[in-house]
Amino acid sequence: APKPHSTIDPSRAVRQTATTQQKRDQQGVRDMRQQGGPSADRRGFVQGAGALLLGAGLAGSMPGSLRAATPKKGGHLKLGIDSAGATDSLDPATYTAWYMQIVGFQWGNCLVELDEKVRPVPELAESWEPNADATRWVFKLRKGVTFHNGKELTAADVVYSINHHRGEGSKSGATGYLTVIKDVKATGPNEVTFVLDSSYADLPYVLADYHLLIVPEGADWTKPVGTGGYIVETFEPGVRTLAKRNPNYWKEGRAWADSIETLALNDLTARTSALQTGSVHFINRLDPKTVGLLERAPGMQVYNMPSAGHYCFPMRCDTDPFTNNDLRLALKYGIDREDVVKKILRGYGQVGNDHPVPSFDPFHAADIPQRAYDPDKAKFHFKKAGVSGPIRLSVSDAAFTGAVDAATLYKEHLAKCGITLDLVREPADGYWSNVWMVKPFCASYWGGRPTADLMLSVAYKSDAAWNESFWKRPKFDQLLLQARGELDTAKRKQMYHDLQMMVHEDGGEVIPMFNNMLFGARKDVAGLVQTPVLAGLRCGEQLYFT
Amino acid sequence: MTTNLLEIDDLHITGQGESGEPFEIVKGISLRLKRGEVLGLIGESGAGKSTLGLASLGYARHGCRLVHGSIRLGGKELLGAPPGLLRTIRGVNVAYVAQSAAAAFNPAHRLEDQIVEAAVQHGGYSIAEARAEARRLYAKLRLPAPERFGQRYPHQVSGGQLQRAMTVMAMVPKPDIIVFDEPTTALDVTTQIEVLAAIKDAIRCEGMAALYITHDLALVAQIADRIMVLKDGKLVEEGPTAQILHAPRAAYTKALVNVHRVGGVMKPPSGKIPSLEVRGIDAAYGLLRVLHDVTLRLDHGRTVAIVGESGSGKSTLARVVTGLLPPLKGEIWLAGERLPGALAQRSKDQLRRIQLVYQMPDVALNPRQTIEEIIGRPLTFYFGHRGAERRRRVLRLLEEVELPAGFAGRYPAELSGGQKQRVCIARALAAEPEVMICDEVTSALDAQVADGVLRLLLRLQAETGLSYLFITHDLATVKAIADDIVVMYQGKIVQQGRKEEVLTPPHHPYTDLLLSSVPEMELGWLDRTLAEREARKARGERVMESADR
């Protein structure tokens, strides 16, 4: 039950910010002038992985605060995060969306963390070693880490925590990609050994997943105790979460604010205006359409980072007419990716090449020619496919924001290729259970996985639970398994190249674009680390007041 | 010579018709009213009496306009006077007593609050004074329990009492003039006489002037010093009451004075099976018992009149016979055939053979149907006549009820009361019934119009051998057309028999009350009757009083 005296009064906070608004705005403006030069921006951004692939065109949108500002301790940080619900639960097994993921990383840590370049770096695990064929991994735990309840972190805790998500009777969303793990055992007070049933080079990536937060052995999952930088004080599902700083947090240079209030702001407009009025300092999921406007607004800054998240239109390769690859190709050639990126993402994203591996991924096959909008080819393949009558596409904005608009654009593009696309707007409610993977042609979204392997095995392997395009190619499966075990990077790169090629050529996915992650913040906060994967989920412990 | 309180000169008032174009209601009437004088305004319905009466308060109904002329009250010009001024004089210098007190009292407030309102609001009275005055007047108008009477709500008081309360309301601020607009028309005879008497001596001793509007000459004769006769918005004749009664000049007035009542030909009782017979009927609305063991018999081609004051159960009897209200016990026979109690069980033909004609013609006709549709429906419904055939018959029926064929296309709103009633009769005739039940068919009509309707009914009876169950509380009518009379009192039959038997003494006391209450067209009738009743009470004879006291 919430303790009134211990909670901070947001409405007062609102009024304060309201009164001091103008001052801060001028402040903001000055900041701009002082370091507004693009150079400063770019320098700041180089730390961000995205720099590798981001055209200077986006540089203008780089937030000033990325320049190494001296972090200040203290303050009451307010986050406005979407996709929260009254049904939310603190049990990481049930985490599916932004809000709980961000709350999760406030109270808990994983064994592994991913850095700006999507490299696994130690978190609760100090170091790790695979055996020769990567079927057995040994993780050394960090010493002297204590849970919020004062208990010391041990191997047993890790085993308990991981097993919550695997094996018989698990209700976790993570089961899907933990199947590779045969056994987890404590092989020492702070040493954990993972036994896999096949060679797997990417295990550390997996262990960085937001589900796999570590709690003490036998902990109650509905009120988990963590090792994180913040201790949850009040949790009102679908309303707000109040967390106080963990006084003896082990991690250096993190968890600056004294307390974090995470407000559930599902409504985009509400979120945006909350940021504008200073009711919150940081919000997620900006609407690409309004980013420009927001940036222009005084005292605002925008975090814009490329991600592995991609929008796609899966076609069921097991149902006519999509069994026909010519039709699939026609539909792939028939979409003007540039246009979609421009109109739907307003440029905050990259064109996709009909395979799910993002361009910053070390295994990204850059040499596969980018598929461009080509009405003639589309016409050609469509004729070749000999399909008659319109194609029906089931969409809802539940798939991804702007899905309906994107589909509308797609319709336009196809029209120019002489292909008629009928849009069926499906109810947002229950979209994932009765449209996705049910209707032959629909809209879908992938948040992206840390590694090429994860992404491909999750949605393209024949037996994958979420093989949304029902595309089944034994050759692909074999190669994928080989690639997993392959420790020679060069060979491995080649294998992934071939896999991406198959999907690109023959797969049942139209993947027109990868979206950037867009966050909005007030000028007086800074510190968000720009990781393309799991982007922004750790904002709680990263952000600080300048 | 005493000065005139009210002077109206060449007043023109227009109203707006259905389609909106204006038409004259009052066409240049002039009028003088002296202090302490009672001026009677009489004329048929629609003559413009109320309009004129209202005009003397400088008021025109919504849709009406005082276009031309002058209305001077104690020297002040009211026509075109600012609302502020009008407000100060209304209710204080000149007061209005409406036709239906039941409708004119606000159901939401206690009587007293409404009665003293005008006096307190702008009559310069304190509440206490006004209350005291009101109580004095309650007593004066012989209202029960004057102390507590004002505490009641309108619905807790009988019609007659309400009408008197309304008079009190008018008198409290001691106005110079009171306009009475048919204050007794809504009451039945036995009550009417009481109220009339009360009003009369109230006016006398308060020494006010009054404008007394009615369409019953016999009534106005009892109370007015002078009488003005109006006919569609124009003055027909004006003069002292005696002169109007005894030496009327205008033809129209003559007609009014000797409304010679139609005399029905005496028909011998026919021995055949009666066309309608009612045996031992008991009926109730929910728990409220209304009819107790009612038995009567209507022979072929004859007329049975059912008389009794309001609330005595006359209409209820009609409802039982027609099947609208299934009786608790008792039987109904139609020409030797027993009728089911409930409407639903009766056959189409049984329904056809009994037709009902209502008291209020304007609520008995669907305002959104043309006369042709209204009369034509039974023809189609019962006999399947359509198109030209149907039209032909409709026209014949209109002819039978003495209405021009041109009316077929009109809507009820475009007809006068009498004409509406004729349409109702035509509609009933269209079904070619054997028994026709007439519930107060004439009581909403003026004397002459009523006469016309009665004649019509008699003629039809002679021609078609119809039998009438004739419900009324108007003895004059009864005298005119009944063969047999049934007197009802509080749901029971107190006396019944051949007309001449019932009408010749010795009467049942209630019959006597009824008979003696019918106004007669001679000066001083009212005072005489009342005096007589007092005398007989003094002699200790049993004299019934109207349920209203």
Partner: protein, 320 residues
């Protein structure tokens, strides 16, 4: 004798109300069953794997036949035990208690503002009927109702929160907050709701009064030389009460039951959002309970309306 018919009525309506409630509960349950997908799928969303789904179903007993689950719920409910939320294992009673108070608070404040305003506007419009005042009032109110409520909300936020900085854009309230602060927090949602409901009530009030204005006792009042105001307020209004009461109550019901959108826009933790979220997650027991509460509110309010309009009628208040 006096209150007797009234008591009878109340009893009768209560009985009927309970009957209706039962039916509603059945209908809602059937409804939730008709909805595609179930809690298990909904919880896991896109990351649902068959085995995980199966496990959840088993744990929550979603594999039992529907009627059994309904009866379980019903008897629990009758015993006053609302059970646990399937989605996050919280006791429903607790979960709802807080939200319900919030909802009632918002509705209460909104009603407190809107009803008097609406009725006075109605009276004003009736008093100055057919004048520019009347027309202005009706046009403005009409304009107000013809905007989607979420949009009115956005407008107000933009004007008062973003531009003028006089009100918070988030109506976040929580236990232990002082009343004035609470009021400050809900200022905008209240304004929005008021704008939405005022028009309807105002128009009905006007219509009812205008309707009464046609009756003879109003003419009589004019003939008594009373002022237009006195006639409108003292003579017309009391006789127009029952239709006014009815429309007011209808709108009160709306304020309690129909404000989901406003809650979302202003991020107000009320029943509406609670239910939407649980419907989305197919969390049947919670949906059921919310549905019951909404239905009960509606039925109770209707009953009050009937009783009030009886009380407003002197014939029934003071029988002969």
């Amino acid at each position: 004798m006096r209150a007797h018919p009234l008591l009878k009525l109340v009893a009768q309506r209560l009985a009927l109300g309970l009957g209706t409630l039962l039916v509603v509960s059945v209908l809602i349950f059937i409804g939730t069953q008709l909805l595609p997908g179930d809690l298990a799928q909904a919880i896991l969303g896109q990351s649902a794997t068959p085995e995980a789904v199966a496990n959840i179903r088993a744990e929550l007993g979603l594999d039992r036949p529907a009627h059994i689950r309904y009866l379980d719920w019903l008897f629990g409910f009758l015993r006053g035990d609302f059970g646990m939320s399937l989605a996050n294992k919280q006791p429903i009673a607790e979960m709802i208690a807080g939200r319900l108070t919030n909802t009632l608070f918002l509705a209460g404040v909104a009603a407190f503002v809107a009803v008097p305003v609406a009725v006075s506007l109605g009276i004003l419009a009736a008093r100055f009927r057919e004048t520019w005042i009347d027309k202005t009032i009706s046009i403005v109110t009409l304009a107000a109702i013809s905007m989607p409520e979420f949009f009115i909300g956005y407008l107000l936020i933009y004007i008062f929160a973003v531009k003028l900085l006089v009100a918070p854009s988030l109506a976040s309230i929580y236990p232990g907050m002082a009343l004035p602060e609470k009021l400050g927090a809900v200022a905008l949602p209240v304004a929005t709701l008021s704008l939405v409901v005022i028009a309807h009530m105002m128009r009905m009030t006007r219509a009812a009064i205008v309707n009464v204005m046609a009756s003879p006792y109003i003419e009589m009042a004019e003939l008594k030389g009373l002022s237009r105001w006195r006639i409108t307020v003292r003579h017309a209004l009391p006789n127009a009460l029952s239709p006014i009461i009815n429309v007011v109550v209808l709108n009160l019901a709306y304020l309690v039951v129909g404000v989901v959108v406003v809650e979302v826009v202003f991020v107000y933790p009320g029943m509406g959002q609670l239910m939407v979220d649980h419907v989305a997650k197919r969390d049947v027991p919670v949906v059921q309970t919310c549905g019951m509460i909404f239905a009960a509110t509606y039925i109770l309010l209707n009953m009050t309306a009937d009783i009030l309009s009886i009380l407003a009628n002197p014939r029934l208040r003071h029988p002969k």
